[in-house]
Amino acid sequence: MSRPRERRTNRPTRWWSGAGLAAMAALPVLVLGVFFVLPVAGMVGRGFFSSGSLDVGGVLEVLGRPRVHRVVWFTVWSSTAATALTVGLGLPVTYVLHRLRFPGRRLLRGFVLMPFVMPTVVVGVAFRTLLTPTGLLGGLHLDGTPVAIIAAMVFFNLAVVVRTVGALWEGVDRRREEAAAALGASPVQVLRTVTLPALLPGIVAAAGIVFLFCATSFGIVLTLGGLRYSTVETEIYLLTTQFLDLRAASALSVLQLVVVALLLYVAQRTGSGDPQVLDRTAERESSRRPRRGDASAVLVTAVVLLFLAAPLGTLVLRSLHRGGGWTLANYRALTTRGEGGALLVPVSQALDNSWRVAVDATLLAMVLGILVAAVVSARPGGRLGRRALAVLDGVFMLPLGVSAVTLGFGFLITLDRPPLDLRSSAYLVPIAQALVALPLVVRTLAPVLRSVDPRQRQAAASLGASPVRVALTVDLPALWRPLLAATGFAFAVSLGEFGATSFLARPERPTLPVEIYQLVSRPGEQNVGMALAASVVLGVLTAGVMVLVERLRTPPVGRW
């Protein structure tokens, strides 16, 4: 299985090469330039320039504020703790779901992935419902504490570990572990000396991404931390919308941008081993039935599954509750504007908006994503070409880590004058959401494209297939499921996007997550009830999309 890798040629074997690659890269680069680099640069510029002259001192002043120190420190330690917990809990779960064979395994895999696409606002609302003094776990007095925030981060990110490491773990040849066992290694020694070293790249990559997601999580912290606990991301939001301190906001954006770029660079260096060429014809079933030695992993998994189910279950139950009795009143109220006119438009109207925006955003993200994936998965011959692609690959990952709030705010301050006066354009929100979804699309498609053995294309070509036919008969069969999966991801991300949308959505055209946040931040039992019901609707919608995606059985090669 390792032999093909050595014999693989590195010469370009695609029909798109050189000029073709450049042409394909042109559109995504242009879009990224106008709708990502420009806004972010505008935001950065706002921090460094005041009244037309460079003012670095102002940025340093902001970074010296005690509150900023607190915010940065809280961001770092809460994200670190959440990452450690996510990895620690995620590995046993990954083992059970990807190395053991039992009935219902596919269902559980889908269930574990669900929180990841749950809109952050929904996750926040669900945890609040669970931890509120009258909630199921109210007795723990965790409402409004950092523990709640960290728990929600773990809830949200477990899927990243399970999916990233799971794909790798399934590929670890069981016989390598058996060889070690036969040499006298106990199960623990096998894990320590053979399995974990093989998984390390995946674990490091997953931990990096989880840390990034935690450090830039917005909806969770905003709904659970309120004003007391603020991360860099929510602080940018608060500084902009509440305190109108744009310079401080852009200073924090710059800080975040630098840290994220650094993290992505490190992740790129550690994670980019040689791309795996998969021999799809020789897939071995690497899982087996559970044994007694698996008891502890199974136990941890059971607890984690409960932990994942509790907030969602509570959310659904409480949404059916009002005034001490079971009722559908909360759902019926979704056609109203809430208690005391909390909303400008009814929730049903926002749902409609969300749906339309998601369709547009998904379309855009897929067009860009396919182009980018095709470009970055090419294997150019020259050193220069390879470097250019590596840079491009990293650049398109940037939206993954750049604060959506920065992006949204940047849109507002840079795209507000001709020729790019888009402030009132209905396309602003879909474009921002497409950029947020783009890295996921690329991450789903590029590894699959890279994993197609180039010799398959050579074989097809040698049998007389034209370049287009090669793409249709070799690439497409491997790609169509991931394509649909990426479409689902993009749609789910767009449905739940809150960070950028909260800035960009016109008040009269809000999306569902925006309205949910408006509802939870207003008083009134009816508003809270509506928020719960709207969260359920949004969650069910996203979960429905994800179930469809999971039914497509995407091959286990995706990397975030």
Binding site: M1, S2, R3, D173, R175, R176, E178, A179, A180, A181, A182, L183, G184, A185, S186, P187, Q189, V190, T193, V194, P197, A198
Partner: protein, 348 residues
């Protein structure tokens, strides 16, 4: 010694057990080859001995002790796979010394032992190299050294040479034999390649469809294959059954199965060189095909009363042309009587 008794391994959903009531004996210090086509259950049998597959029936004993409740890592065996399964995150020395480090051997001891083992397998000074730079043959040598490091009570080899090209396979097969003998290692080898089995093993067991159809010393099995299929699997070119076999035996001056004259109820396996073109030979036939090879010319001949068989023309003579009439002599030392008929009658 290893005793396998009545062992059965069944996979869920499979119509027939992968290993079906198998008995095997392997005296200490011997090398036993389990030979069988792919899908015959030989690798599963090996995995069952290693403790990697649970037995549905029967037992695996070593030195009289039943191993049913002994997990793989406590059996004191070592397992070497077809593709080596070296640990890519370790160097050559790291791989070879793996089992020693598990036992917390002092690093000086590990280093010395690794040096000895690498010398033994013909890779002195390879310790610091990375696994990725090794050739297929070198990888298998490293895997062998790793398996021998802890002086296993029993070495299990799963097609250890099959992934190598022919020249490398032949060289390593002889080295493997020498190394196993020098170390006095008891070894169980499974392979589908009879040459590999002949080169390495003292004893041989033929396996087919989960069952052992024949077992004995290499010589015993080779001299008298159990049936037509076994003979063909062992590399015999032609199998004759019934009157054709008797005619051929009589022509060679041999006896029939009953010990008396060949009586039309015999079965015999022929190597390619069992029939040789010779003027005045007792058999007569017409040449169907002729191919020159570096040794003798290889012929296909239709022999009167026998049918289509393989034959050779002496080196140095002009090989007969296609369509030519030839006379053939039988070399009985290059034939083997079968213990049973093949069910499918005359085959080639």
């Amino acid at each position: 010694m290893l005793e396998v008794r009545n062992a059965t391994v069944a996979f869920e959903g499979a119509s027939a057990p992968a290993v079906d009531h198998v008995d095997l004996d392997l005296p200490a210090g011997d090398v036993l080859a389990v030979l069988g086509p792919s899908g015959s259950g030989k690798s599963t049998l090996l995995r069952a001995v290693a403790g990697l597959e649970p037995l549905a029936t029967g037992s695996v004993k070593y030195d009289g002790r039943d191993l049913a409740r002994v997990p793989t890592h406590r059996r004191g065996f070592a397992l070497m796979f077809q593709d080596g399964q070296l640990f890519p995150h370790h160097s050559v020395a790291g791989n070879v010394g793996y089992a020693l480090r598990l036992r917390h051997a002092p690093s000086a001891v590990v280093a010395r032992r690794v040096g000895e083992l690498l010398a033994l397998v013909g890779l002195p000074g390879f310790g610091d190299r990375s696994i990725t730079g090794l050739s297929g043959g070198e990888r298998q040598r490293v895997a062998l050294a790793r398996a021998l490091a802890v002086e296993p009570r029993l070495l299990l080899l799963d097609e250890p040479l099959s992934a190598l090209d022919r020249g490398m396979r032949e060289r390593l097969a002889h080295d493997l034999r020498d190394i196993l003998v020098a170390a006095g290692t008891t070894a169980l080898l499974v392979t589908h390649d009879q040459e590999e089995a002949f080169a390495v093993a003292d004893r041989m067991a033929l396996m087919r469809a989960g069952r052992v159809v024949q077992a004995g010393t290499v010589e015993e099995v080779w001299r008298a294959p159990a049936d037509a299929e076994a003979a063909r699997f062992l590399g015999y070119a032609t199998v004759l059954v019934g009157p054709a076999a008797s005619l051929l035996l009589a022509a060679g001056g041999g006896r029939g199965r009953s010990g008396g004259p060949a009586d039309g109820r015999d079965a015999v396996a022929l190597r390619r060189s069992a029939l040789r073109v010779a003027a005045g030979g007792p058999l007569r036939g017409r040449v169907l095909a002729s191919r020159p090879t570096p040794g003798a010319a290889r012929l296909t001949v239709v022999v009167d009363g026998v049918g289509e068989v393989h034959a050779v023309a002496e080196p140095g003579t002009v090989p007969p042309a296609v369509g030519e009439e030839v006379h053939l002599v039988v070399d009985l030392t290059r034939t083997a009587p079968l213990r049973e008929d093949g069910a499918d009658g005359r085959t080639s």
